[in-house]
């Protein structure tokens, strides 16, 4: 029986939807692996598989806590080190075994008689203001050892409109909190689709800027302004002094929940690769001063990265599907970070 042209188009479309769903699932991206969270914005769905190829390549499964890490060891005799960070630590860009957290754990276990478990508590997009919230979610009140990861934009992230900073009369910081996440209704409406279809999720991410622009134009056209939550706090300019105050406050909050804290800093990508990137970032200066204020060891990787590049002509950011010297750490970057942290921990001692 001959098919009409509209039937042929319909079936051709169906064939392509299935075909591209398979291609994307196998080679490009998994469906959405996130769910909404009031405090953190979103979290990864525990025990769900993922495929990540936007930058670098990795495939794996989140642990039962919803982090890109192996399951935490539940043994009581295990010494635990928590690593708090953002996308640099969450690390979708290289295999989990090649991340600095895994390499650090391996090195520490080789050097120690006691079993050491380095636990990753990191998620892409987190700011330092979120670090105390992550620690709060741990079972037990005080962590033995916490490593805090910062990078060149961490200080600037504390001035994001979702971070509420209040001040005392004398100018000291009273509190830094994260504004509760307003549910993204648009995304929640299609949650079922993007959580089950790799094609839908990939298309949404790809065309999101265009969709956002279109929605903004539409909203402006019907004069429906989103209610901007009021922030009665006095707006502070981003200065070195103010940034240092904020970082000091964050580090103090962490110190209340951790016996030992180590702070480390990853420099701007390309600082050593492209000559026009400034070496000194405000975050780096402010963080160094804040760590000193709180008497915390501070590992600054700027010169380590620069010297490595000069000696080996090897860039530490960038992948074959991105530009070199940009973006997140590659395997060489992770090895260098692990080595630097390991040497510092050995120097300071585990206890």
């Amino acid at each position: 029986m001959l098919m009409s042209i509209s039937s042929k188009i319909f079936f051709a479309l169906c064939i392509n939807l299935v075909l591209w769903e398979c291609i994307i699932r196998l080679c490009i991206s998994s469906p959405c692996t996130q769910k909404a969270d009031a405090e953190l914005g979103y979290v990864n769905i525990p025990s769900v598989s993922y495929l990540y190829t936007s930058e670098g390549y990795s495939r794996g499964r989140f642990n039962s806590l919803g982090f890109n890490d192996d399951e935490p060891v539940k043994d009581k005799d295990v010494q635990r080190i928590y690593v708090l960070g953002d996308s640099y630590t969450e690390n979708f860009q290289v295999d989990r075994k090649d991340s600095y957290v895994a390499i650090l754990e391996k090195k520490l276990n080789q050097a120690s008689a006691t079993r050491i478990d380095v636990v990753k508590l990191a998620r892409d997009g987190l700011t330092p203001a979120h670090y105390p919230l992550l620690l709060k979610r741990l079972e037990g009140d005080v962590a033995e050892f916490v490593i805090l990861q910062f990078w060149a934009h961490s200080g600037g992230d504390l001035y994001d409109r979702n971070i509420i900073t209040s001040y005392r009369e004398d100018g000291r910081i009273k509190n830094i909190s994260v504004r509760p996440k307003v549910e993204d209704r648009g995304k929640e409406k299609i949650r079922f689709l993007i959580n089950n279809s790799a094609l839908a999720y990939f298309s949404l991410r790809r065309f999101k800027p265009m969709i956002m622009r279109g929605s903004a134009l539409l909203a402006a056209a019907v004069k429906r302004d989103a209610a901007e939550p009021s922030n009665n706090m006095v707006k502070q300019d981003k200065t070195l002094v103010d940034m240092q105050k904020r970082l000091t406050f964050i580090l103090k909050s962490i110190q209340e929940r951790a016996e030992r804290v180590l702070v480390f800093y990853i420099p701007t990508p390309g600082i050593f690769f492209k000559s026009n990137v400034p070496a000194q970032s405000m975050t780096r200066q402010a963080l160094r001063a804040a760590a000193l204020d709180n008497k915390m060891p501070f590992v600054d990787l700027t010169n380590t990265f620069r010297n490595h590049y000069k000696s080996n002509n090897q860039y530490l950011n960038g992948f074959i599907n991105t530009l070199p010297g940009m973006g997140h750490l590659n395997v060489f970057g992770h090895r260098l970070v692990a080595k630097a942290l390991y040497q510092r921990i050995l120097r300071e001692g585990m206890k």
């Binding site: 098919m3 042929k8 051709a12 479309l13 392509n16 591209w20 990939f202 090897q314 530009l323 010297g325």
Partner: protein
């Protein structure tokens, strides 16, 4: 407006609606619609530059009228028309280059000379060359003079005005004498070609551009393997970019019922430099042969004069591509290559098993010849792509000396280059295209939709401009 943009898709869709509605109108009204659309298309970029197109159309139309009038000396009118067109091209494209060259040669004596702020109109090299063929073809009695409407449409026809193909007056104007009509067959054939061109440009060329641009712009940072890979990638990028655009232009013209000349014929299958120029930018090489090389004497005045004519033709070919030393050197490089190939073909070797005999055997071997030709062409692309002679020297130097540096080869190189080479070497591309890219079968429709998906999902969101737009 470029052919791969959303603006163009909307514009073309509206034009087809108007033309469909105007099916019952007389041909002159349809031509007026096409002229209006072409002026809108070109003026979308710059309205002032559109005035130049109108001026060129008027000028060449008048020369055509003078050539048809027995009262005037045809040769003088012809030279005047060539002078008119070349002056316009020379002013807008080469004036500043000429001034800068004099100043660099005579730094102290040329203080009074200043460059002008001249914006080079898009496509001027293409439409001037096309415009020139009108009076020349009349002079050579290939065509008769046409109406102002036909000449205006010929010069401004939007699918070909910005990046070609360069359709001569004798190729295009006779088509205007036939009734203009939209047919289903032309629509389907044109749409298939357009889609294939879009895939070549958006999926292949634009993805390779990410790699090529980074390495060529920062060559001192990368090692020899990265630079070599980027050079090979560029050879594929420029082919996919230019042939992709040509396919889109030919496809759009086909939908409207016009035939534009084929511009590419799998150029990396060429077994010699001469063969390459029969396959690459065919419309330009044909133009150069018919309107420059043959009038210079071609190969009719002895070997030495032939070699000189070939060199001059390709020197000017390089200059046509751009007002820059790298383009002139690139054109001269190809001129020398063509001359050497001509000499090589003429030489007879009597002693068997000599190195020359073995080399000749190798060259007769098709794949050997293709490889040698490809290497020759690709070395030339380094000159073509580099922003200066110094950069080209740095890139060539780093490749040849095996320089160290960061090693980075983008994934697009591994995915796209082998696919393109394999497709190039296949013998049955046309048959596969005809079977798979069609709108009347389920398999064909599935392939068409798959190609659309590939453009939507796999092309970089910040697309590179067409390489040949700058000429």
């Amino acid at each position: 407006m470029i052919l791969s943009s959303i603006d163009f898709i909307i514009f073309f869709f509206l034009l087809l609606l108007i033309l469909n509605f105007a099916q019952k109108f007389v041909d002159d009204r349809k031509k007026d619609i096409l002229i209006g659309a072409s002026y809108f298309f070109y003026g979308y970029w710059n309205v002032k530059a559109l005035l130049l197109v109108v001026f060129v159309s008027l000028g060449n139309y008048l020369f055509g009228e003078l050539l048809s009038n027995e009262r005037y000396r045809k040769k003088s009118v012809l030279f005047l028309s060539i002078f008119f067109n070349l002056c316009i091209l020379g002013y807008f494209k080469y004036f500043n280059f000429f001034i800068d060259s004099i100043r660099s040669l005579f730094p102290h004596g040329a203080d009074q000379l200043h460059s002008l702020k001249i914006i080079m109109p898009v496509g001027i090299s293409f439409y001037i060359f096309q415009a020139m063929t009108y009076p020349i073809d009349i002079y050579q009695k290939r065509i008769e003079s046409a109406s102002l409407r036909d000449v205006a449409l010929y010069i401004s026809f939007f699918p070909k005005i910005t990046v070609g193909p360069i359709a001569t007056a004798s190729e295009f104007l006779p088509q205007l004498k036939k009734p203009l009509a939209l047919t289903k067959e032309n629509l389907m054939a044109g749409a298939s070609l357009f889609l294939l061109g879009l895939v070549k440009k958006s999926v292949f060329a634009d993805n390779l551009a990410v790699f090529v641009n980074e390495v060529f712009d920062h060559a001192v940072l990368y090692d020899a393997w990265s630079i070599l890979s980027a050079t090979v990638a560029y050879s594929i990028q420029i082919y996919c970019d230019f042939s992709g655009y040509s396919d889109m232009a030919i496809g759009v013209a086909m939908i409207l019922g016009f035939t534009l000349p084929v511009n590419f014929n799998y150029p990396y299958k060429a077994t010699s430099v001469t063969d390459f120029w029969r396959r690459w930018h065919i419309s330009l090489s044909s133009w150069l042969r018919d309107y420059l090389y043959i009038p210079l004497g071609g190969n009719r005045r002895g070997n030495i004069r032939t070699y000189i004519n070939i060199f001059i033709t390709f020197f000017l070919c390089g200059l046509w591509h751009g007002a820059g030393l790298t383009y002139i050197l690139w054109g001269s490089y190809h001129g020398v290559g063509l001359v050497l190939h001509k000499i090589w073909s003429a030489v007879r070797i009597n002693v068997s098993e000599s190195p020359e005999h073995i080399a000749r055997k190798l060259m007769k071997n098709t794949y050997g010849a293709m490889l040698v030709t490809y290497l020759f062409i690709t070395v030339g692309w380094v000159l073509f792509r580099s922003s200066s002679v110094k950069d080209a020297a740095v890139i060539m130097g780093r490749m040849v000396t095996g320089a160290g540096g960061a090693h980075w080869i983008h994934i697009s190189f591994y995915l796209i280059v082998p696919v393109c080479f394999c497709w190039h070497l296949l013998a049955c591309q046309q048959r596969i295209k005809k079977q798979l890219v069609r709108f009347d079968t389920l398999l064909g429709l599935s392939c068409v939709i798959a190609l659309v998906f590939s453009v939507l999902l796999l092309s970089p969101l910040d697309a590179s401009p067409f390489i040949y737009f700058q000429f």
